[in-house]
Symmetry: C2
């Protein structure tokens, strides 16, 4: 595999950083190639602004249009182009981050906001009343697979089907489906560690073993069965899921999974 690890934690001695380091060594020892985007170590600029689009920044700024023009012209900033190149190089992308306020830390959201430009991650393919782009299963990043490796402070039952925070799969849906599957990446079931606020040092060996196990079986892991946009499941142009495709009782985000 050619693996890109996008890592978002400020502390090199944190659990998240240990899991990132373990992923690098485990994958390299198994003969895979690895690149790491350690966003804090890179002092990653988290905020989209006109500076991202150089001479293609219009006044007033139009983020979608201007980012697409700068992408087409090859004039995005070097930091963004480097990340786009890493994504094109990789066949596997691991995101390592703590769940902060039920989603990714700002620095990682800023990586998405800046790297996933128009004409690269969205605004790809024909947009008309009969086709609304190549996305959700198609797109620039099709053929790649991604995995979220997430640490969660609270206990697992709080994230269960009836848990107060909401089910973890639903909390991660806007990332897994909305950010990753949108530009074509297949998404593997996440690796989630719960209760990390109260984790003790002596718990780490078991955690490390479970993580190594996931890493060494990535290639045979089946992705989440999200529905493809352009294979007949959705009406056009409403992109409303056709009636009767889902098992009885399935609602909400779950509708967008097959079977």
């Amino acid at each position: 595999m050619k693996t890109l690890i996008v890592h978002a934690h400020p502390e090199p001695k944190s659990l998240n950083s240990s899991l990132k380091d373990l992923a690098v060594s485990t994958l390299e020892n198994a003969g895979h190639e690895v690149q790491v985007s350690d966003l804090y170590a890179m002092n990653w600029k988290a905020v989209v602004d006109a500076g991202d689009y150089g001479r293609h920044a219009s006044s007033p700024l139009k983020v979608a249009r201007d980012s697409g023009r700068a992408f087409d012209a090859g004039t995005l900033t070097q930091d963004v182009r480097t990340e786009q190149e890493k994504l094109l190089w990789a066949d596997t992308i691991i995101f390592q981050f703590p769940l902060w306020w039920y989603t990714m830390p700002a620095i990682l959201k800023g990586w998405v906001d800046r790297v996933f430009t128009s004409h690269f991650a969205y605004g790809v393919g024909e947009h008309s009343d009969t086709k609304y782009g190549e996305r959700f299963g198609e797109g620039t990043l099709a053929g790649r697979r991604a995995l979220l490796s997430v640490t969660v402070g609270g206990p697992q039952p709080h994230y269960g089907a009836r848990g107060i925070n909401g089910p973890i799969d639903d909390l991660l849906f806007p990332i897994q489906h909305g950010i990753l599957y949108y530009p074509g990446i297949e998404v593997l079931p996440p690796f989630v560690l719960y209760g990390t606020d109260r984790m003790a040092v002596e718990d780490y060996p078991d955690v490390a073993k479970a993580w190594e196990q996931r890493l060494l079986t990535l290639e045979s892991t089946e992705p989440i069965a999200f529905r493809r946009q352009n294979c007949g499941d959705y009406e056009m142009p409403s992109l409303r899921l056709r009636e009767g495709l889902e098992p009885a009782g399935r609602t909400g985000f779950g509708l967008h999974m097959r079977g």
Copy 2:
């Protein structure tokens, strides 16, 4: 009302900035007090790091613990303390932002990550096997109400109950329930503008009228009926919703709304 508007768009001439400006003038003309946190204009630091906690930053950095210590000691950075003071001053908080990748822009997530520290927004109240804090309806910010005002590029049907992106209420749940209701803020139904990628200048007067109407009726608007954590609906310590409380067929995030 004492209204805080937290605004997150890089372009002062954007639709989002126009809606922010209109909110200021509409509320002030109606006799309300208004403060604005214009995050781009403030050059808001989006990224949590050790610099946020001064001498309370431990090595290795522990974000939750260190932020709580710095909060207790009053040594958080001035920018964060100012935002916390604005939140304590306000009875109403409006968040104005574009939906980027199905959630808030990084600069606004970074406002949450940095301002919502431990002992201020979480880690409040007794945490034991019989009580898991004052949150979800209780907490430092109880008694306040918030409203998301969100612009969405795509068309409304894509965000409907069967729309490909998932229902807008579910996409906003991690923000409305997970970020706002968690520290005690009641959340009003959001003001969502769809199809803004293709909105024309001549559409703006109708949009402005609808927004003014929402602003002038905020005081009489009923909040979303999220369930309170500590009123018997949840088992302890699992914080699992008790069986049989929800209408038949209700699942997922919807479980956490009454009635």
